[in-house]
């Protein structure tokens, strides 16, 4: 319900604008250019992320790469860097860093972990018996990798690529900072400068349609039975390949990637930080913004997880259309651009729920709409840790349902729910466009402060916010990286 509400509102308002106006807006040359540019950006970034993510995941999980655990963590860490922070770091380091390819570089470096993490997890968890069978049937190591291993992890690659594509379509921060006109930037400009509601709404609707088309396309190409379950037997760690002479060059490449994705933002932040904190009074402002960020994110995470608990448990326990649809719905978190949700909630707040307008609660509601699917998926996965038979047994031993929930269900699902909460918290911290639109007047978070300073090229003033944001976001990110099992040991051949 909550997820559909703003979208329904968007549709109604777009309809009210009148078809001639809508048609004129949609069919304009500008819309066509925007659409082409957004899709091209999504295509380029997705291709780069798949290459980097799969190669990185293979090197880290399946070879004797030097310091592979360190590289495993380093490869996951860019998730903690919001794209607008990375954009800010590059713009403030490299002169005339703007345009399509600049945006593609920044977005690739920020979003390849979306491919790396699921693929690394799949490579770690893939059944080694299938590879052994392939080797025993006379296939070489390389043929086995392309014929068996890559096919085992294909669903993970596809899922990661979809996340990246959706993320690029909905990204607002990086493209704004490197000055590329995509859909999101045009929507924000239309709304902010001209207060051109109809234009913003129509463009939003087109963006939603684009993302839905992308989702549908991926569903149609997904073959049946593409998920490869482990076929029984005890879990054995996968066998790792020796790289021989390629060992150090491979490590070098991983190092270059880490330097670009993490080093550039780090160096840039430190440099501007040294200049920035010397300004008197800035520490109080930073602390206030950090406090606001934490407060808003806590409220948002609490609301989101609270709503996700019953839905997730229900979905896990009642297999049917709900559980099947859940897999698809997970992507909607990334598919629905924060800007569009923010915009529709602004109108919703002004016209329907005025008491909520300009309050933290409307912002928390926006976070819930955006990230509820993430939390629901996490809760449903956690519920799988507690099969219903355990609850059945507990009840036959004379414990009432509330006691069973407290003593069996909750202790077993809590770690998974905690991970889901961390994920939601991270997403709330990084969220920029909806926060910009919905924060109460005068309330600044780390993200909005950073954005407003960057917009007027006050890089030194922006640096402390960026540094604190990255620092806070790194905590849940590292927790999540550890949970994927990237750090697990394996055997050497």
């Amino acid at each position: 319900m909550i997820a559909v509400l703003p979208l329904a509102y968007l549709a109604v308002r777009t309809g009210e604008a009148g078809w001639t106006r809508v048609a004129a807006e949609v069919l304009s040359r500008r819309t066509g250019v925007l659409a082409a540019r957004s899709l091209a950006l999504a295509g380029v970034v997705t291709a780069c992320c798949v290459t980097l993510g799969v190669a990185g995941a293979f090197l880290v999980t399946r070879t004797d790469l030097p310091a592979r655990r360190l590289f495993g963590v380093l490869a996951a860490l860019p998730l903690a860097i919001p794209t607008y922070v990375a954009g800010f770091a590059w713009v403030s380091t490299v002169d005339t860093f703007e345009g399509f390819w600049a945006a593609a570089l920044v977005l690739t470096l920020c979003s390849y972990p979306y491919v790396f993490l699921p693929v690394a997890a799949a490579l770690t968890g893939a059944d080694p018996a299938q590879e052994e069978v392939s080797r025993s049937l006379g296939r070489g190591a390389w043929q086995t990798f392309t014929g068996v291993t890559l096919r085992q992890v294909r669903p993970a690659v596809a899922a990661g690529a979809l996340l990246v594509a959706l993320y690029v379509l909905s990204d607002f921060g990086a493209v704004s900072i490197v000055r590329v006109d995509t859909f999101t930037r045009a929507i924000f400009t239309a709304f902010n400068l001209g207060f051109d509601r109809t234009g913003a709404l129509v463009l939003s609707t087109v963006l939603v349609v684009l993302t839905v088309l992308l989702l549908t396309g991926e569903t149609l190409t997904r073959r049946r039975g593409a998920r490869h379950a482990r076929t029984g037997g005890a879990g054995r760690p996968p066998v790792r390949l020796r790289l021989h002479v390629l060992r150090w060059p491979a490590a070098g490449l991983c190092g270059v990637l880490a330097a670009l994705a993490l080093g550039v933002p780090a160096v840039s932040l430190v440099r501007w930080l040294a200049a920035g904190v010397s300004r008197p009074g800035s520490l109080d402002e930073v602390a206030a913004a950090a406090g606001n960020s934490l407060w808003v994110c806590l409220v948002g995470t609490g609301l989101t997880v609270g709503l996700a608990l019953p839905i997730g448990l229900l979905a896990a326990r009642a297999p049917g259309p709900l559980a099947v649809g859940l897999d698809r719905v997970t992507y909607l978190a990334h598919a629905l651009p924060g800007l569009v949700i923010g915009l529709s909630l602004v109108y919703f707040g002004i016209n329907v729920a005025y008491p909520l307008y300009q309050s933290v609660w409307l912002l928390a509601l926006a976070y819930a709409v955006l990230f509820l699917p993430l939390a629901v998926a996490a809760v449903a996965a956690a519920a799988a840790q507690c099969p219903p038979v355990l609850e059945d047994v507990a009840r036959t031993l004379g414990r009432r349902p509330p006691t069973v929930f407290a003593t069996i269900t909750l202790p077993l699902t809590l770690p998974g729910i905690g991970a889901g909460a961390a994920l939601v918290f991270l997403a709330c911290m990084k969220e920029l466009p909806a926060t910009l639109l919905l924060r109460p007047t005068g309330m600044d978070t780390l993200a909005t402060k950073l954005w407003s300073h960057t917009a007027v090229a006050e890089y030194a003033a922006a640096a402390p916010y960026a540094a604190l944001l990255v620092g806070l976001a790194a905590v849940p990110t590292s927790m999540l990286a550890v949970r994927t099992g990237v750090l697990n040991s394996g055997r050497l051949t």
């Binding site: 038979v389 355990l390 059945d392 047994v393 009840r395 036959t396 003593t407 077993l412």
Partner: protein
Amino acid sequence: MSELDVRNVSKAYGPVLAVDGVDLTVATGTLAAVLGPSGCGKTTLLRCIAGFEHVGAGEVRVGGRLVAGGGTHLAPHRRRVAIVPQEGALFPHLSVAGNVAYGLDRAGRRSERVAQVLSLVDLAGFEDRMPHQLSGGQQQRVALARALAPRPPLVLLDEPFSALDAGLRAELRRVVRAALRADGATAVLVTHDQGEALSMADQVAVMRAGRIVQCGPPADVYREPADAWVASFVGEAVLLPGLVASARAHTPLGELPVAGTSAGAATVFLRPEQLQVLPVNTACGVAATVLRHDFHGHDALLLVRLDDGHEVPARIFDPTMAAPEVGDRIAVRVRGTARAYPDPTNGAVDQ
């Protein structure tokens, strides 16, 4: 006195009748096995008794108390019916002692009951282990101890040994049977394994397509199956067409004394151990050829083809002695009485 009394219970899922008018009475302190192929409704019956399913019709009484039926449906936690599921389903976050004490009240936890039931299942001293540190057999024994700990009037065992390997299974059956006896527990075991049902139960109820087709002591079910299907489901069976007249049947194995049916066309049933294998030149017996020889160590099962084309199994108990090999000519003689079931369809076939 009966601890469990199931009367005319039915349970339907949509148009499918999973349990169809089942009656089952289990006397206090005994173990009843519900034996049937997979999909026969035995697990549904178990879940109706435990309270996870609402019965569609009929009544369930535990210890004389009505728990289901006639508008009553007591929630599972009020029935005092403990369950041991297929995979044990130990609570993974609790130690062995924590698992066993889960169903006990505060006084029970302080008493010696945990140590007592753990020693019943030969696991004394395992209190502090975690479930993942136990073997499959040990997990099942902890699951049984957990079910027994609160002294429930009834314990339900849902194919508790099916995930274990054969050697372990036999040993665990003995441990479980002994523990149930020592604790005076009443139990219902659901299984598809006829060996398990025959060796453990005081009473075997054979279930097919939602109905109980025969219920009685294991020896009776094995020796006097109610029909040809039960005969071949509960162990190996020799089934031959025959014509019965005045307690004698004309069969491909000769004229045999029979019990169980009136005159007419019938299916005649013998156990393979009733067929005695003799050298081919023996005067008595029917000539046959050995088609297959399955060696089991303690015995061997032969499949032989009678000269008229019928194939029958025969068990020999001393397979180390010059046993016939595939292709050998032998003679087969019947010992004891056969049973016959009326079967008009084979009336004129072989007679």
